[in-house]
Assembly symmetry: C2
Homo-oligomer: 334 residues x 2
């Protein structure tokens, strides 16, 4: 195998076939990815299905806690989790720059394979394009996913008093990327929270009837995600700053950079809106999930109003309106 | 709305939301694309499902007969057609270069919408990323698709005597792109065959039991597609050059360019392998489909052999072994 990816690896001929077999099939291996047809066929599934897509353009391609491959699989699994769905099948499309390092490509593919095996998700169809040097920055990946929605779950109207849970410390992914991009030397050991959230969905199965909505706060962070929920519900949100879990090092780095962690992407966190009566019980279940010991109730919904807003009670006793992301945060966070 | 796409249109915040509503929702409008959630949910489907993905990086973005948007929708619909499936739902992911012309983006989105309406396919989930100028060449699009496989269809073992049908003139798309890329002035009116093939699947419903395999000869063209079928079947193929439909202008341009039309991508043709007894009847049905008046039986399968090959009987009475694409054809054909 060549040391770098060449244009002919994307021409659909013999070399594409070699690349697919030696790198992708090798790492994505599963019983359904056996032929070289352009579509994969599987038996119809009972119940409701969820379908999602995401393109990943993160820069740098490798960062503390993950790489573009792991991020792509986790991102799509988590979008399905937010829809109450267990991921079944993924597609994976690569757009690769001519001259891209073959070892790095294999490392990315290996991460994808590992995350799939860990979560029981299968990549059943894919696509590989190679473009001339300078026409894409390294490699971009699209993952689309099909999942089956938990029978007991469907989004429900949000009511006054409904509680907002975040499953752990916020802003880790965005802050990690910022540190890498600005080339800052930090003493703290900071890494992305990039991880699949399917285990949380499994853990909460008996509470699906009390969960009103779920959302993963990726691009635009917690603040933007809450504003989207607000817009859909028509209800204001009261947020408690002191309740929002955030690691000390994440906080201090953002103070240094002058960035607001509320707008930083999380790639391994879930916002869960839950009936007030069940909020504590749900929270206790979440605490038992891996990496969720900092999960917390961070706010609640208010009565409907004409101009609903996300209002945060700050630690110093003030009130701050938290709007959706408007300015320019870091591009290419995911 | 701004005249060009800016980085903030991809930050997941307010401006992303405006871009999605003003351009994508406007043109992709359907009853299932109404909320801004990251995944769409639909009822489970009886029968087998097919799933496929394709990223499109075609250059130029607009070409005679289509643009990257139309190509993306047709490409995914046709991959599903080749699996015997009627397309139901598509995802659509855009990766856009900062500074990209907003009008052109809307023109591309409009083509996608138009092709969806024409074929009854719905885009139910999407994603938009914007990257810095120079990090992607214009716009790349990923479309993934879910279809339901025709109850009567499944791929069957290919036998000696099985006939190979092509649904019309070959090499139109690849030749069109070549003409554009080399900047050749041609007197002939040549355009891409980019089109959705769902109508052919509908027309052939009663013959699904006699169809052994279907494949759309995109990258690598007819020659590469036939070699892939050969590899899967273990049977040699006898191809008749004089039977292969090819427009006079396509032929003459390729002679001029020194390119072999057998390796040029088609984006609106289907290879159908059919039982000998039913081949003529299937062909007559295809002739009735739009743009398929040149459909022809172009070859047949031989007995199994140790080193099966695609052998073409040439018009001058010779024999030529037609291998899969090995050299460098034009990159970024689709």
């Amino acid at each position: 195998m060549e040391k770098t990816v060449m244009l002919r690896h994307g021409d659909g001929g013999k070399h594409t076939s070699i690349l697919i077999k030696d790198i992708f099939y090798k790492h994505f291996h599963n019983d359904m990815l056996v032929n070289s047809l352009d579509a994969s066929v599987f038996d119809g599934i009972h119940g409701r299905l969820a379908f999602t897509t995401d393109s990943f353009v993160v820069k740098p391609l490798v960062f503390p806690g993950g790489n573009i491959g792991k991020l792509a699989v986790c991102g799509t699994i988590n979008d399905l989790v937010a829809a109450g769905a267990r991921s079944l099948y993924l597609s994976c499309g690569f757009i690769i720059e001519e001259g891209f390092d073959m070892e790095l490509l294999e490392r990315i593919a290996a991460s994808i394979g590992e995350t799939c095996r860990k979560t029981g998700v299968k990549i059943i169809t894919g696509d590989t394009k190679v473009v001339e040097k300078g026409s894409v920055d390294g490699v971009f990946i699209n993952t689309s996913g099909i999942g089956v929605v938990q029978a007991q779950y469907q989004p429900k109207p949000i009511q006054a008093g409904d509680q907002i849970i975040i499953t752990g410390g916020i802003a880790q992914h965005g802050t990690t990327i910022a540190v890498e991009r600005y080339g800052i030397k930090v003493e703290e050991n900071i890494k992305s929270d990039c991880r699949p959230l399917n285990h949380i969905l499994e853990k909460l199965q008996t509470y699906m009837g009390s969960i009103k909505l779920m959302k993963d706060p990726t691009r635009g962070g917690l603040a933007t995600a809450l504003n989207e929920i607000l817009e859909a519900s028509g209800r204001g949100i009261q947020l408690l700053e002191e309740a929002i879990p955030i690691a000390v090092e994440v906080k201090s780095i953002n103070e240094l950079l002058g960035l607001d962690p509320l707008y930083h992407a999380c790639e391994g966190r879930l916002i869960i809106v839950v009936d007030k009566q069940k909020a504590r019980a749900v929270l206790e279940e979440i605490w038992q999930c891996e990496d969720c010991e900092d999960a917390a109730i961070i706010g609640s919904f208010l009565s409907t109003g004409l101009f609903p807003k996300v209002v945060m009670e700050t630690v110093i006793g003030g009130r701050r309106i938290v709007g959706p992301l408007e300015g320019d945060m870091l591009p290419r966070i995911c």
